[in-house]
Symmetry: C2
Subunit: 161 residues, 2 copies
């Protein structure tokens, strides 16, 4: 499946759960990360702004952790739907939240180039998924992350009006 | 030492290394986190904006990871200076960068209240420190993080003119 003929996974979240600063279409000042299934992986591309800086020349680590986090939630959503035999978009997409995030900064990530995120699920059950994510810049992997995603608990659901 | 009579640790970083989106005084659109020594700990307070949202009512996890990260770097700086017998501010503060970040989201963090970050070093050597960070909201710890900080490598130093 290519990225051109399918909606982003985040765009399948219900309107009530699409405000996330990292990936919500209903958050006009957020990063609006868009992740797409591609074979057995989920892929996203993102170009940091010049102010997403840490040390001059390099991307802010907190942004990289944020992108890995949102990308992992989308990867968990896609894997859960596919494992249940549903096509993405056939039903409201299940929303995951982060239980744990581990990010290894393998190399400094250069600022000024498009980054590529790739995610795949390494463990999955009905309520939980473990997702491995890499971020690369110019073809070189600079970030490796492992993210534990859990299905949105009822306690976090609130009426949104 | 109280927070009122001492500069923030981040304000002791040299001008060349004070652009960080999370805590740099030279980044006008960043979070500008300010961390202060307080006894054996380092403490910061931060109130997320309304748009720093994940699920409605709760703080975006990527912001929490970002704050923990910057706070840990400041904690490493303070501990290194104190271990070397220097007072903070007596010399340019050493700048650390993140090698690894582990964040456990213990509970959802409510949006709309001031958060308190507390950090302390659990392991330290000349070039590396391991920092434990908690984030609490209304006195309840919602985030526990462990961050590996390393001294800024020469390869990341660039002339800024």
């Amino acid at each position: 499946m290519s990225t051109s003929d399918t909606p982003a996974i985040q765009d399948l979240y219900s309107d009530d759960f699409a405000h996330c600063f990292g990936c919500g279409r209903n958050n006009p000042v957020g990063y609006q990360l868009k992740s797409f299934p591609e074979g057995d992986e989920v892929v996203a591309r993102f170009t940091p702004a010049t102010y997403h800086i840490s040390i001059p020349g390099f991307v802010y680590g907190g942004l990289l952790a944020s992108l890995a986090d949102c990308h992992a939630m989308a990867t968990a959503t896609a894997a859960t739907e596919l494992a249940a035999g549903r096509r993405l978009g056939d039903a409201p997409a299940p929303r995951f939240v982060t239980a744990a995030l581990r990010v290894d900064y393998l190399k400094p990530t250069p600022l000024g180039v498009e980054l590529e995120l790739r995610g795949h699920v390494t463990e999955t059950s009905e309520k939980k998924a473990v997702v491995a994510v890499t971020i690369s810049a110019g073809g070189i992997v600079t970030i490796r992350a492992e993210v534990v995603a859990v299905r949105l608990p009822k306690s976090m659901e609130r009426p949104s009006h």
